[in-house]
């Protein structure tokens, strides 16, 4: 893998096209991440269609840059205007915005950029070390293990989604059903197509994700009250004070390690990692009682954890084919569009591609530092763009982007339909992310479920007789039953009253 890493790295570094793509992805990632109302997932979903005409390597270089840079972008808005651009930046605003109010916005951005970069590099190293080992272990997996791992991934993703686990699971089931629309791959029998040719080729991932994560957010923005131009603070010099950064090295390393480990747990996500890191730093810091007033440790630790999560979240995606969060779900969609199926076989069959993911992430981290320092003032200026301009442009991007994948107007109608569905689900407090996971993981689940039953001659015991499959099944059932028991308990006490 090391040989492949360096050979791909030299190929990318000497290719102006790939370097340019990475630079463009980084700039767009920071920009979209820092614009309030555009999350990293939305940025990835909107920009995914652009990569359709690219080679898999070029697409990965571009998308990894958007992915990684948007995480830092999300911190800019959290620090400067107290609006986290990504879920992982929720904690950043606590100390970051306090520093901004204190006239130390530049200092906060410097800490954020340095910690993010170091966190990202640590996450990448952990990804490079752990992923081959997990992939090797996963090589022992057969259809029953894969089927149950997919079920486990779906239930965990529903469990970790904000809101109700129960509703998350039902949302995931809708995703599974959407994934079954069109011809069955084994028997060629049409399903859920309602006799229309438009649905026979299935529901594409891009129209669905663009609708759910892009257009639905536009609807929410319109509903929630459109904001005018925002005021942003003036920035001083963004020259890093190495002495100040040096004093934080332990904090940054702790946050990085935590972020990478938590990020690697399927569905744990960056929001959990930053919360744990913040709590830990509060405990370790001599100024723990002053947290919330602009203490650098409270900013640097979670920021490192947030970016280390990027590498960590790629572990389950690359090795098991299970996205760790919504962002990696969209990335997985990109891989599938380019004919690459993440999982242990990817390591065996396409080590060059796996290495290119590492290189793309490394390059994105380096370029985020460069563009972060050079262009942050311009990004901040763009943050003043009023919502009524942004929302309309995003809506048009959603339309053209979903059309661009197959040059098919049906995809645009599907995108609008899922935009409306996503909006309605949001209003009804039904999480939308599991729906996208269901669409992605549905075909994998069905293929492995049916294959397992064919192997076992129709016996469902195959999922109980194999230890790994059984473990996954037990964990999945626990994630399902636990909230239901809690609910029944609360309902019973309500009835008693």
């Amino acid at each position: 893998m090391i040989t492949e890493f360096f050979s791909i790295a030299s190929a990318v570094a000497t290719d102006p096209y790939l370097l340019g793509l990475s630079a463009l992805g980084t700039i767009l990632g920071i920009l979209m991440g820092c614009l309030p109302g555009i999350s990293s997932t939305m940025a990835l979903a909107i920009l995914l269609p652009v990569t359709y005409a690219m080679s898999p390597l070029a697409a990965m270089v571009f998308l990894m840059a958007v992915f990684s840079a948007s995480v830092f972008g999300g911190s800019i808005s959290a620090i400067l205007i107290n609006i986290p651009g990504t879920p992982g930046a929720i904690v950043t605003q606590l100390e970051g915005y306090a520093m901004t109010k204190d006239g130390r916005a530049s200092e906060a951005l410097t800490y954020s950029l340095f910690s993010s970069t170091i966190g990202g590099i640590v996450g990448l190293i952990i990804l490079m070390l752990v992923a081959p080992l997990v992939a090797k272990a996963a090589m022992q997996f057969r259809s029953p293990e894969f089927a149950m791992t997919t079920v486990f991934g779906l239930t965990m993703l529903a469990y970790s989604t904000p809101g109700s686990t129960f509703r998350g699971i039902l949302s995931g089931v809708i995703g599974l059903l959407c994934g079954m629309v069109g011809f069955d791959l084994v028997t060629d029998v049409p399903r859920f197509d309602f006799g229309t040719s438009a649905l026979q080729s299935g529901i594409g991932l891009v129209p669905l994700t663009v609708g759910l994560f892009g257009l639905a957010e536009v609807f929410r923005g319109i509903e929630g009250g459109v904001k005018g131009a925002r005021k942003t603070p003036k920035l001083g010099t963004l020259v890093p004070s190495f002495e100040k950064v040096r004093r934080l090295w332990k904090t940054i390393l702790r946050g990085s390690a935590l972020g990478a480990i938590i990020g690697a747990i399927p569905a744990a996500g960056s929001a959990i990692a930053v919360a744990v890191s913040y709590a830990q730093e509060q405990r370790f810091s001599k100024r723990g009682n002053k947290f919330g007033t602009g203490v650098p440790e409270g900013l640097a630790g979670p920021e490192a954890a947030n970016n280390a999560c990027v590498g960590g979240a790629l572990v389950p995606l690359m090795t098991l084919g299970i996205p760790g969060d919504t962002m990696t779900a969209v990335l997985m969609g990109a891989l599938l569009i380019h004919g690459l199926r993440p999982g242990p076989m990817l390591f065996a069959e396409r080590p060059d591609f796996v290495a290119s993911v590492y290189v793309a992430l490394f390059l994105a981290l380096l370029l985020t530092v460069v563009f972060g320092f050079l262009l942050v003032r311009h990004f901040v200026r763009l943050m003043r763009t009023p919502d009524h301009i942004l929302l309309v442009i995003i809506a048009m991007l959603c339309v053209v982007g979903s059309f661009a994948i197959r040059n098919n107007i049906t995809d645009v109608y599907i995108m609008i339909a899922f935009g409306v569905i996503g909006y309605v689900m949001n209003r009804l407090d039904i999480p939308v992310a599991p729906l996208a996971f269901g669409l992605i993981l549905g075909p994998i689940l069905e293929e492995n479920l049916r294959r397992s039953l064919i192997i076992s001659d129709g016996s469902w015991l195959v999922f109980i007789e194999r230890p790994i499959a059984l473990t996954m099944l037990v964990l999945s059932v626990s994630a399902l039953v636990f909230p239901l028991l809690q609910r029944a308990k609360i309902l019973a006490s309500n009835l008693k009253r």
Binding site: R191, V392, I393, I416, D429, L453, G458, R487
Partner: protein
């Protein structure tokens, strides 16, 4: 994580259950209306109807559970009168209009062309939303809308139609 710890009201439970029930009814109708899915000629392969049946059963039971919980909670808290439905519909009016205008927009792109149609869509909505955002005068809003439209439509045209060659409009 649980239902009630998230503080869902009975009407929210009921509405969410209804929404999911609509999905499950549509799914069952489609499944029942496809005789090819029910034939038993796939040998040891459980067939293409296995996962749809499992999924739809889970969805139907889940939807029923939410509707039932909503109904039960309404019985328990009969006094809790809220304007939930009215608020739900009122809040969705503007996004609904936006969705309808998007359908009109993409339908007319073929007739009018991408740039003029996008400009009309963009100017109209940037203006309406700008007015909605308040504290803007007519004279200050128009230049901003014009610049926004020029940059937005121009960028999309340049990237998607010119560079990538997407044949839209």
């Amino acid at each position: 994580m649980s239902e009630n710890s998230s503080g869902f009201g009975p009407k929210n439970q009921f509405a969410a259950g209804l929404f999911l029930m609509v999905w499950s009814v549509i799914g069952w109708l489609s499944l029942i209306g496809s005789p090819a899915l029910w034939v038993n000629e796939y040998g040891v392969d459980p067939g293409p109807s296995l996962l749809p049946i499992i999924s739809l059963t889970i969805l139907s039971l889940g939807a029923l559970a939410l509707i039932g919980t909503g109904a039960l909670q309404t019985l328990v808290q009969q006094h809790a009168r809220t304007r939930y439905w009215a608020m739900l519909i009122k809040g969705s009016l503007m996004p609904g209009l936006f969705a309808i205008s998007l359908i009109v927009y993409i339908t007319l792109i073929d007739v009018v062309g991408f740039i003029p149609m996008s400009a009309i869509f963009s100017i109209t909505w940037m203006y309406i939303l700008g007015v909605k955002s308040g504290n803007r005068t007519y004279s200050s809003l128009l230049p901003l809308v014009a610049i926004g439209t020029f940059i937005g439509v121009g960028l999309i045209y340049f990237v998607f139609l010119y560079l990538i060659g997407v044949p839209i409009g």
